[in-house]
């Protein structure tokens, strides 16, 4: 059924092919114009998207309350999941953003033959997502070595930690492990593969997946794969690449000849990264910004304590007590219910009008 993931895969292959053929032939276009264009698209796109969100109103305070509310002092409030203070919201958001706390609740339903249901903790998605995002972050941060000269100590420290586990294969047939293996790259590739496989193999998730769910996964898979390839297998001249990246970030690139000796593999890596950057603001990847703005998480759950103001609150037609009593006055009096106006007064008044 899945033309969605095939088309995404094909798109990534075509991109790779373009870079493979075009990169060495047109280094100026692929090495300089493309990255600048991608960064500009990313920055402008992200600003436009986030500012677009910020322009929309937040009319009501609608936090999802995931724990005991603040009520009487002798009842234990869940200050994180039902935060009544700004600080509580801060903690809730921090846990949400840094540890994906809501995913940590994930359960999987099981139905037995007799029609009994159970809901068991299911943490694979949480683990996969955490591994993916943090490995990506680590990979990004250590790439700063290509953009800073001299390379600061903190980046070197991260590299040291990342390559802490020395992992080498040394046989005649295969020599692997030099330069030192970064665990983040391996984890990134493994996690992104897991995220792809669960989309493919879990029928429910496959059913909801769209081409735009597979495409970024393939992009990132391609980025991680070419990165690993360049580092450990078909080596590229790393100094020449840093020469290029440094000239990009110091804006020396426009009057600059892309150094020779940068293999086509690097251009494939680069075009996939650039595509990811340019695609980012127009896709679901904006969840990175959106998570901060989700009103069900970032609002204080003190909604009965402090009035939230709706900027577009407008007066509405209501059925006033007066109109109500006018309609039912006779019946109310008959039933012994108090009324504001006795019939003679009100009819007198109506006559006046």
């Amino acid at each position: 059924m899945n033309k969605f993931y095939l088309s995404s895969l094909l798109a990534v292959f075509v991109l790779a092919l373009i870079a493979w053929a075009g990169g060495p032939a047109l280094p100026w276009l692929f090495g300089i114009v493309l990255p600048y264009a991608a960064v500009i698209l990313f920055v402008v796109g992200v600003i436009r998207k986030v500012m677009g969100w910020s322009r929309s109103a937040v009319p009501f305070a609608i936090p999802t309350t995931g724990g005991q509310q603040r009520s009487m002092p002798w009842i234990n409030q869940n200050k994180i999941d039902n935060p009544s203070t700004k600080f509580g919201v801060f903690i809730r958001m921090a846990l949400e953003i840094l540890t994906f706390r809501s995913l940590f609740r994930n359960t999987r339903i099981k139905m037995t033959e007799e029609g009994r249901f159970s809901y068991n903790l299911e943490l694979f998605l949480w683990i996969g997502a955490l591994a993916f995002h943090y490995a990506f972050l680590a990979t990004l941060v250590r790439h700063l070595r290509f953009f800073l000269e001299p390379v600061p100590l903190c980046i070197k420290a991260i590299e040291t930690i990342d390559s802490f586990f020395r992992f080498e294969i040394s046989y005649d047939a295969i020599q692997f492990g030099l330069p030192g293996v970064y665990i983040s790259g391996i984890v990134l590739f493994a996690a992104v593969s897991y995220l792809f496989l669960r989309r493919l193999l879990i029928s429910k998730v496959r059913y909801i997946s769209l081409a735009q769910d597979y495409f970024p996964l393939f992009l990132i898979m391609g980025i991680a794969f070419t990165g690993i390839l360049m580092r450990y297998f078909t080596k590229v001249e790393i100094a020449a690449i840093k020469d290029l990246t440094m000239s990009l970030v110091t804006f020396k690139a426009l009057a600059f000849n892309v150094p020779q000796g940068i293999g086509p593999l690097f251009y494939i890596h680069l075009i996939l990264v650039c595509t990811l950057l340019a695609y980012f603001p127009f896709s679901k990847l904006m969840h990175m910004g959106g998570i901060f703005l989700s009103p069900t998480r970032n609002m204080t759950a003190n909604t009965r304590e402090v009035r939230h103001v709706n900027p577009w609150n407008y007066p509405v037609k209501v059925h006033t007590y007066e109109a109500y009593e006018n309609e039912f006055r006779e019946k109310m009096i008959e039933a012994g219910l108090p009324v504001d106006k006795m019939p003679d007064e009100s009819t007198a008044e109506e006559e006046k009008e």
Binding site: V43, I47, K235, M246, P259, F292
Partner: protein, 134 residues
């Protein structure tokens, strides 16, 4: 809306982080170029004209070659490496590589520092075997 300033602030922080390589290099470093360092060849290296393999290959793959050398020497006790031109070399970092490239600081380190690479060669090998023996 009163949260707009927070959104703008958050967005600004993110963009500063994202663009930090540009900002750092332009604003703090004054957009100073940082080209690939020149490696210094010793007289002996210049005289040899070519390393054990072509320069292009060596620039990208020297670590892989050294790794293979190490395997052959340490595991199989082999010592000779013959390149495509049929020239044979002793597979030895200290005695072959550092014989020509005796200037580690100006040859090895320059690029390694530039690319932030910390090879563990020197965990075992001394850096200047010639100097030591003399």
């Amino acid at each position: 809306m009163n949260d707009k300033k927070w959104i703008v602030l958050g967005l600004a922080v993110f963009l500063v982080l994202f663009l930090s390589p540009f900002l750092y290099n332009v604003l703090i470093k004054g957009a100073k170029a940082a080209p690939m360092p020149e490696v210094v060849l010793t007289e002996k290296a210049k005289a040899a004209k070519q390393c054990v393999m072509p320069t292009e290959f060596m620039r990208a793959n020297h670590m892989q070659l050294l790794d293979e050398w190490r395997l052959k020497v340490v595991r199989s006790g082999l010592r000779d490496f013959t390149n495509a031109e049929g020239k044979t070399f002793n597979m030895s970092l200290s005695n072959t590589c550092l014989d020509c490239h005796s200037n580690k600081a100006d040859f090895c380190d320059r690029c390694h520092n530039y690319a932030s690479v910390a090879p563990y060669c020197w965990d075992c090998h001394i850096q200047n075997p010639q100097g030591e023996t003399k």
